[in-house]
């Protein structure tokens, strides 16, 4: 197991390097000089500007600059936020847990909805339940998250007044009340993100189960007299989940994209809303760092999917 993990980690390194290279090249290709502002400032003599350029290595070849930048990133020196006047890494570390909490809960909700519905629909293909599930899945992933978010706010906040539509970190309550408020404000963001994912997962689960359920070993399991419940749960679902894990891992980039939108709608203080506010404030170091963190999170979750894959499918050798 340790060996397998190590191998997956080593495979993840080149893709992280590739991602960082793409980001850096984008930044380097972009028109506009970070020192352009200094050029128009009459208080700074050209010699000082030139000295600054040399100090920051602006005139070095691009590969050298990339290496410098990479080393700084690896040291945890991610720069300084122009807008918030704090180090970028402090800012991001404050925000990442919220994003992971919302995204993680949403994924659990998505799987909790999609797996039972998908399995049940596949057990009775082309039944009314299957057709209903299919139709709802289609509606679900055709509804963009920004629209469902507004719809939920319209229904549950504006019309019914049940749920708050602004996510707050400073809740004025204590004890159980605090927990209740905390959960209540997360319901809508999690539901928006989770149900959107659940729609596509349902279709994955259904087709994966359909592929497995007709196989000979399932018939054998039934013939041995194992109860239907046990056949489905232990024999069918476990094998059907293997391709589903891959597809869920492939969805990860989309999931984090959805997180940006939901965080923006409900004003959840995660890294997604940080990205948007940084873009609106022209805060380049924060934008670069957040984009890189998003890419790292995607790679991390792909790694996690690989581990789950190995656990679900013992045929994958860890050796």
């Amino acid at each position: 197991m340790g060996n397998y993990l190590l191998r997956r980690l080593i495979v993840a390194v080149p893709s992280l390097l590739g991602i960082s290279l793409i980001l850096f090249v984008l930044l380097a290709l972009a028109p506009g000089d970070p020192f352009g502002e200094l050029a128009s400032n009459p208080n700074i003599p050209p010699e000082v500007r030139e000295a600054l350029r040399i100090k920051f290595g602006m005139d070095d070849p691009i590969l050298v600059r990339y290496l410098h930048w990479l080393v700084a990133m690896l040291h945890g020196d991610w720069g300084f936020s122009f807008a918030s006047r704090v180090d970028v890494e402090t800012l991001i570390l404050q925000r990442v847990p919220t994003t992971l909490y919302v995204v993680g809960t949403a994924q659990l909700l998505a799987l909790a909805v999609a797996v039972p519905i998908g399995v049940y629909a596949a057990m009775r293909p082309y039944s009314i339940f299957d057709q209903l599930a299919n139709t709802f899945a289609f509606i679900g992933f055709s509804l963009p998250t920004f629209f469902t978010g507004l719809l939920l706010i319209l229904i549950f906040s504006v019309n019914l007044g049940w749920l708050p539509f602004v996510y707050r970190t400073d809740i004025n309550a204590s004890g159980w009340q605090w927990y209740w408020e905390y959960i209540k404000q997360a319901i809508m963001p999690v539901a928006v993100l989770g149900l959107f994912q659940a729609a596509s997962y349902t279709r994955y689960v259904r087709s994966a189960v359909l592929d497995v359920i007709k196989l000979d070993y399932v018939t054998t399991a039934r013939a041995k007299g194992i109860g239907e419940r046990k056949v489905i749960v232990k024999h069918v679902v476990r094998n059907a989940l293997i391709p589903v894990v891959t597809l869920v891992a492939l969805q990860m980039p989309t999931v984090f994209g959805g997180a940006i939108i939901t965080e923006q709608i409900f004003r959840v203080p995660g890294i997604g809303s940080l990205l948007i506010s940084a873009i609106l404030a022209n805060d380049t170091p924060v934008i670069m760092a957040v984009t890189f963190v998003f890419a790292c999170l995607v790679v991390l979750f792909n790694l996690l999917a690989d581990i789950i894959y190995g656990w679900l499918d013992p045929r994958i050798s860890y050796g």
């Binding site: 893709s15 590739g18 991602i19 793409i22 980001l23 984008l26 930044l27 290709l29 972009a30 028109p31 506009g32 289609f138 509606i139 992933f141 055709s142 509804l143 963009p144 920004f146 629209f147 507004l150 719809l151 706010i153 319209l154 504006v158 492939l250 990860m252 980039p253 989309t254 984090f256 994209g257 940006i260 939108i261 923006q264 709608i265 990205l275 948007i276 873009i279 609106l280 934008i287 670069m288 957040v290 984009t291 998003f294 890419a295 999170l297 995607v298 790679v299 792909n302």
Partner: protein, 301 residues
């Protein structure tokens, strides 16, 4: 008695046969009608409803739908129907143009990877996998943030941002197509008819363009259809975040962005704009589903 009748039906050409299969998917057939109506509405709409999109009328601020303003008005008293028609043009144009970009890039890269063996194939697939693991939305935002002003200066605010958005959305959607095309190529290039053409002395380019590519197109068409929906959602997302087209261009996403602060007094505003996006996207998705059924010759219908 039944068998000969069936045989006569089978004599349709492949295109006709696909059309017949497509029509059997009732939701897909209905979706084509819906999408055509939408396209027609945004194309000839301005001549049927010649209200300017930026006609400010403060006496009719946030008016609910009425005969004067069938979709109501926004916070500046601008007619929402006219704005929706204009926005629909942009949303649909971005969707189809970005799909074309993605499809073209994906087909070219997939085809090159599929016919070349060894290091070129491996390198191209590594890049494809790398792009697949990139989170598209943060990168879309990053690229637009970095290059917005540059293109604005080059081709004007509207055209510049249109080109940028189309290229960027297309540029992050080619990967599934490339993988599909490559997989098709890998199996098709070993087929007898390709070998026969090769034995007849066809050049590599001719083999690819005349023999392999046409047979690989089925799944690509399906992927391209779904891509239109994805591109429309991507464009609306950018506009919804306030980072797409300039504020005075009312795309559907921008309308939603403006409407979200007036949910309590003017919910129809958000509902019309979001409803239009939803209707377009679900119609395209159903069409994609119908095409998948129609173009899969193994499926018995």
């Amino acid at each position: 008695m039944v068998a000969p009748v069936k045989k006569r039906e089978r004599r349709f050409s492949p295109g006709r046969e696909a059309f017949r299969r497509f029509r059997r998917h009732r939701l897909a057939a209905a979706s084509v009608v819906v999408l055509l109506l939408l396209a027609l509405a945004v194309l000839i709409g301005p001549s049927l409803w010649p209200v300017p999109i930026n006609d400010i009328d403060f006496t009719a601020r946030l008016a609910p739908p009425s005969w004067d303003h069938p979709f109501g008005t926004d916070d500046l008293g601008q007619d929402l129907l006219a704005r929706m028609i204009y926005g629909g043009r942009i949303s649909l144009a971005v969707g189809f143009a970005a799909m074309a970009v993605g499809l073209f890039a994906g087909t070219v890269i997939g085809a090159i990877a599929g016919v070349s063996k060894g290091p070129i194939d491996a390198a191209l697939m590594w890049i494809t996998d790398l792009f697949l693991s990139l989170p598209p939305l943060p990168l879309l935002l990053l690229v637009i943030y970095l290059f917005r002003d540059f293109l604005k200066g080059l081709v004007g605010p509207e055209g510049g941002i249109f080109i940028l958005i189309v290229l960027v959305i297309g540029g992050f959607r080619w990967m599934p197509v490339a993988r599909l095309v490559r997989a098709q190529f890998l199996s098709l290039r070993e087929k007898e008819f390709v070998e026969a053409a090769r034995a007849l002395g066809a050049s590599k380019l001719r083999l690819v363009v005349r023999h392999i590519l046409p047979n690989a197109l089925g799944p690509v068409i399906v992927a391209g259809t779904i891509d239109v929906a994805g591109a429309i959602i991507a464009e609306s997302t950018l506009s919804f975040l306030g980072l797409g087209f300039p504020p005075d261009i009312p795309t559907w996403g921008r309308l939603l962005f403006d409407a979200k602060d007036y949910l309590d007094i003017a919910p129809y505003w958000a509902l019309f704009a979001g409803g239009a996006i939803f209707l377009t996207v679900i119609a395209i998705n159903f069409i994609g589903d119908g095409l998948r059924d129609a173009l899969d010759p193994r499926k018995v219908m």
